[in-house]
Each structure stands twice: as structure tokens, then as C-alpha cells.
């Protein structure tokens, strides 16, 4: 049985020693989903690509200032679900969503809702690091510039890079291309870029799947740091990662018709140690499929 006390991924032998702490054991109380303030409320969310249904009747609440993980096997609709939250699926021809998603009580698909404004408040980090082919500085400064930031841009860029734990590595090469950084640094640059517009929510779609264990560890540390100020939703196919970084976990599974459905949602520790649904237990113990 995989538990929150699972040992961390070890670094390769010949790399410089990076302290790999075990997560603070049980320092925080187990969150009870029903008592938390919500960032998102999902009600009967369904999604279609053309005529193919990808999600069916997903209902759960994503709490504020916690890390919510979405796990499940490939093709279960995890990415579709997270991309519904900032309406990135609007960019895909033929995409259609049904049901309701409320963000701080407002329907994000309503006639008054503006996806541009929504995305300004909901940052996103993608699976593959995708820095702009511009300087490190311009990568971070782009969001504040278009959103009319009137303060000290240099200070904001520095602060964003510090928050993303990248400042010390790039302070002398802010003018270098973002693409010249290593994969892990690029992903932290993307996080800094998302943080620079001072979002409220951070969506992360398998942010570590293209990274090595050390870079992964640094991003996970960062997530633990950021959740004080942000509501974070992270999609991951790595169950150890979900158990390490998240407070709450949603487990999705695609049924016979390839439609993703929510199997179980709850506090991560409960879900991993004491799953209510036998499919969840089968999946987290690796007996699945």
C-alpha cells in the first residue's frame, strides 16, 4: 500500500548532494473537504470533443489555499478537467462543456464571463516546459506588461523568480534566452511567469513529467511553499507525487465508454490509506488494469 510516508525518489549517486527531506510527518491536520472555503465548485461537469464524451458528471469542490491533486490512468480526462478550469479547452475546435463550474461563486462559462479575465487570475503550468523564445526577463515580464502593471517591473520579475526558487540561478543572465536554461529551470521559469501576474489559482498539468528526479523534487518543494498563497490544482500520473504534495485528491477513471468519471474525492491521506472505493484501492496499490 502506498502511503504518505513512502520514501522520496532518491537522487542519482553522482549528482551534488541535495538534501532530500521526508515530508513533514502529520504536522497539519487532515483537511475535511466539506469545511473548507472553495475556489471552484464543479457540478455535473461533462465535456465532449466533437461527438466523443471525455468527462461525465464530475461533481466536487476544489478548496482555497490547498493543493488538490487529480490522479488517474492515461485517458481518464485529467487534463481535460484541469483545462476546463481556465477555459483553455475553448481553443480546441469542437470542444463543448456541460454542467457548471463556479469560480468564487461565479459561473465561468456564463454569458458575462470573459475567458481572458479568468485566465489572468488562474495561472497555468504545462506538461512540457514552454518558455517563450525570449529573454528570461521578458518571459516573466510579459504577463504584467499586457495586464497593465504599473509598478516596478524589475522588482516584480525578481520577486516572481525568487518565489519560483530560480532567482539565484538566473540573476546574472536575465537577458539570456529562456530556452537556454535546463529543463527543470525552464519549468520553474514557467512557474515564475505564471506567478508574475499575481494569480489566485495555479493549475499544473503534469508539471514534472518531463523532468528528472532532482528537478521534480525542487518543483514539489516549491508547490509546498506556494500553497500558503495560492490554490493549487495539480494533475499527475505519479501517485507518489500526489501523496507527497497534495492535501486533497480526486481519482478519475474512464469506464467502458472511455468517459472519465470521478470515482473518489477526499483528503489525500484518507484516500491513500483508507480508500472507500475498491477501484481506488486497486489503482493506488498498483493492482489496476
Amino acid at each position: 500500500m502506498v502511503t504518505a510516508q513512502e520514501p522520496r525518489v532518491r537522487p542519482p549517486i553522482h549528482t551534488p548532494v541535495v538534501a532530500m527531506r521526508a515530508p513533514e510527518p502529520a504536522a497539519e491536520p487532515v483537511p475535511e473537504p466539506s469545511t473548507l472555503e472553495h475556489a471552484f465548485e464543479l457540478r455535473d461537469l461533462s465535456a465532449w470533443y466533437g461527438s466523443a464524451q471525455a468527462l461525465r458528471d464530475i461533481t466536487f469542490d476544489i478548496p482555497k489555499n490547498h493543493v488538490t491533486a487529480i490522479i488517474g490512468p492515461s485517458g481518464c480526462g485529467k487534463s481535460t478537467l484541469i483545462r476546463c478550469l481556465n477555459r483553455m479547452n475553448d481553443l480546441i475546435p469542437g470542444f463543448r462543456a456541460g454542467g457548471h463550474i463556479a469560480y468564487h461563486g461565479e459561473d465561468i462559462n456564463g454569458p458575462e464571463a470573459d475567458p481572458v479575465l479568468l485566465r489572468r487570475h488562474i495561472g497555468m503550468v504545462f506538461q512540457k516546459p514552454n518558455p517563450f523564445p525570449k529573454s528570461v526577463f521578458d518571459n516573466v515580464a510579459f504577463g504584467p506588461r499586457i495586464n497593465g502593471y504599473s509598478g516596478d517591473l524589475r522588482a516584480l520579475v525578481e520577486e516572481s523568480l525568487r518565489r519560483a526558487a530560480l532567482w539565484d540561478e538566473v540573476r546574472d543572465k536575465l537577458g539570456a534566452s529562456g530556452l537556454a536554461l535546463s529543463g527543470g529551470q525552464q519549468q520553474r521559469l514557467c512557474i515564475a511567469r505564471a506567478l508574475a501576474v499575481e494569480p489566485d489559482v495555479l493549475l499544473m498539468d503534469e508539471p514534472c513529467s518531463a523532468l528528472d528526479p532532482i528537478a521534480t523534487y525542487r518543483i514539489e518543494e516549491l508547490i509546498a511553499d506556494l500553497k500558503r498563497d495560492y490554490s493549487i490544482v495539480i494533475v499527475t500520473h505519479n501517485m507518489q507525487q500526489a501523496s507527497r504534495v497534495s492535501d486533497l485528491t480526486a481519482f478519475l477513471l474512464a469506464g467502458e465508454e472511455r468517459m472519465g468519471e470521478l470515482v473518489e474525492f477526499g483528503a489525500t491521506r484518507d484516500l491513500f490509506t483508507n480508500p472507500k472505493d475498491e477501484r481506488t484501492e486497486a489503482y493506488i496499490t498498483g493492482r489496476f488494469g
Binding site: N86, M88, L91, P93, G94, V116, L117, R119, R120, H121, G123, M124, F126, K128, N130, P131, F132, P133, K134, F142, G143, I146, N147, S177, L179, C190, R193, A194, V197
Partner: protein, 297 residues
């Protein structure tokens, strides 16, 4: 070599000798095809250089055509070609690039976009003489521009427009979608995404494509034969409504003459045109490499 012919118990027969021989045969076929093209080009080039180089001089570049071959020059044609090029740049490039941006970044997926793209693709393949007839009917006659520089320039602009559009579309399509998503996710509008990310990233490709389209434009003769009067042009155009000539036309005129000497100066004019085209292609490469600096993904 059927399986049944194998001795019992042996199920694999690598036949390496035959397989390697097939590989060698294919490589030699490829060498042959490549050599054919290169030899043909070298023969043509040698012929042109041997005939044309002796007549190349500063006077040849700065003289007007004359009844006497040894007093003739390409000045009018060179200047006319330059002006036509400018008209193409000013007319075809903005329209073509804007069309490509609309098709790639704005047009909804659907039958309209498909029909437009198919037709643009077909237009790129239409013989250029057809564009000459179009230019004659529309610019020369209907718009009463007469056989003028502007009529010729517009005709060539319309001719290369589909090529510009297709090249620019390719360049835009080559921009990774991750860049667009990153921009949208930061709360950028569609225009901001195009303006600050997609276009800059696509610029090297667009530049290369458009300059190649321009060199196609500069080498076209057929449509201009219909537009420009194939007359003796011994002056520079004063304005866009003046008559004009271009290098390919000048070459065409000289080659058509019975006197041997005009054939030789035609070869010289071909060299001038070739140098012009090679210079433009080299410029395309330089511009592309400059714009590409630091934008590798």
C-alpha cells in the same frame, strides 16, 4: 525463395548479400538522379557564362538597348525589374501575410477555411500566362492603367500572392502551440498572442518564404509579355503609369533577334538576372539566420 524450400528446422534466412545489393542499387539510382540535375545545370551555366561574360561591363549595366548589339545595355530592364519588385513587396507581402495570419490564427475550422485553402493552393499552381491575361483584362483594360509599370507590378503581385500566403502559413504553423497556450494562459488576448509571440517566432520563416516568392516574381516573363508592349524601351519609367520592361523580357527580345551578337548579349543579361536572384536568395538566408537567433525551441 519460399519458406517451403528451406531445410526443416531452419526458419530464418537473412539473405544479407541480396539485401545489401538492393541498398547499393538504390543509392546509385539516387546518385544518378542527382548527377543528372547537376550536369544539366552545369552545361547550361557554362554555355551562358562562355557566351555572356565577354560582354559584361559597366557600360552594359548602364546603357539602354540599342539597334547595335555592342552598344546595348540592360539599364531599362534592370530598373524596371527593381520597380516591379518594389510593387510586389508593397502590395503582395502585407496582403499575403495578413491573409495567412487570418487563416492560421483566426479562421474557424470548417468548410470555409478548407475551400479557401484549397483554392489558394490551386491558384499557386495556375500557369503564369493566365495571370498575364488576368492582368491584361483587369489592370490594363478595366482599370485603364494601360501597359504601365503599375499594371505589370500588380499582375506579378497577384501572381505571387498565393505563394506568399502558403509560405507564411507554413511558417505560422511551425510555431509550437505551447507558445500560444502559454500566452493565453497568462490572460493575453488573441491579438496579443499573435502580435507578441506567434509573429515574432514565425518571422524568420515568413522572411525566407517571401523573399523566395520575390525571386520567383523577378524571374517571371510570361505574364509581362502580355502586359508590357514588347517594344523598344530606351528610357527609365518616370512614374508608375509609364511603360517599362524587365530583365526576362529584355532577354526574350534579344534571343528572338536573328543576329548572332544579340544572342550573346542575351547571355550576359541572363548572368545579370542570375546574380540578382542569387543575391536575393543569399539575403533571405542571412535575414532568416539573424531573426532566428535565440528563438530555437
Amino acid at each position: 525463395m519460399t519458406v517451403t524450400a528451406l531445410p526443416p528446422g531452419v526458419r530464418w534466412r537473412p539473405a544479407l548479400v541480396a539485401r545489401r545489393r538492393n541498398g547499393r542499387v538504390f543509392v546509385w539510382l539516387c546518385y544518378g538522379a542527382t548527377a543528372f540535375g547537376i550536369v544539366a545545370l552545369l552545361v547550361l551555366l557554362t554555355d551562358v557564362l562562355v557566351k555572356g561574360v565577354p560582354y559584361l561591363s559597366w557600360e552594359f549595366l548602364t546603357s539602354f538597348p540599342s539597334r547595335l548589339a555592342d552598344r546595348s545595355g540592360v539599364l531599362a530592364a534592370l530598373v524596371g525589374t527593381f520597380y516591379v519588385g518594389i510593387i510586389v513587396v508593397v502590395v503582395a507581402f502585407p496582403i499575403g501575410i495578413a491573409t495567412a495570419i487570418w487563416l492560421e490564427e483566426y479562421a474557424p475550422q470548417g468548410p470555409l477555411k478548407r475551400i479557401l485553402e484549397t483554392n489558394i493552393g490551386n491558384l499557386a499552381g495556375v500557369p503564369s500566362i493566365i495571370y498575364g491575361m488576368l492582368g491584361l483584362a483587369v489592370f490594363v483594360r478595366a482599370l485603364s492603367l494601360q501597359r504601365s509599370l503599375i499594371a505589370g507590378g500588380l499582375t506579378i503581385a497577384v501572381l505571387v500572392l498565393p505563394i506568399v500566403i502558403i509560405n507564411a502559413q507554413e511558417a505560422l504553423r511551425a510555431v509550437p502551440s505551447g507558445i500560444r497556450h502559454a500566452s493565453y494562459a497568462l490572460g493575453a488576448t488573441r491579438w496579443e498572442t499573435v502580435r507578441y509571440h506567434v509573429l515574432p517566432a514565425a518571422t524568420p520563416g515568413i522572411l525566407t518564404g517571401t523573399i523566395l516568392a520575390l525571386s520567383r516574381a523577378v524571374g517571371e516573363a510570361a505574364p509581362i509579355i502580355l502586359i508590357s508592349s514588347i517594344a523598344f524601351i530606351a528610357f527609365l519609367p518616370d512614374g508608375p503609369l509609364d511603360s517599362f520592361t524587365i530583365l526576362p523580357i529584355q532577354i526574350f527580345i534579344w534571343v528572338s533577334k536573328p543576329q548572332e551578337q544579340f544572342h550573346l548579349i542575351a547571355a550576359s543579361a541572363i548572368i545579370v538576372l542570375l546574380v540578382l536572384l542569387l543575391t536575393m536568395n543569399a539575403l533571405a538566408i542571412v535575414l532568416r539566420d539573424r531573426a532566428r537567433r535565440g528563438t530555437r525551441w
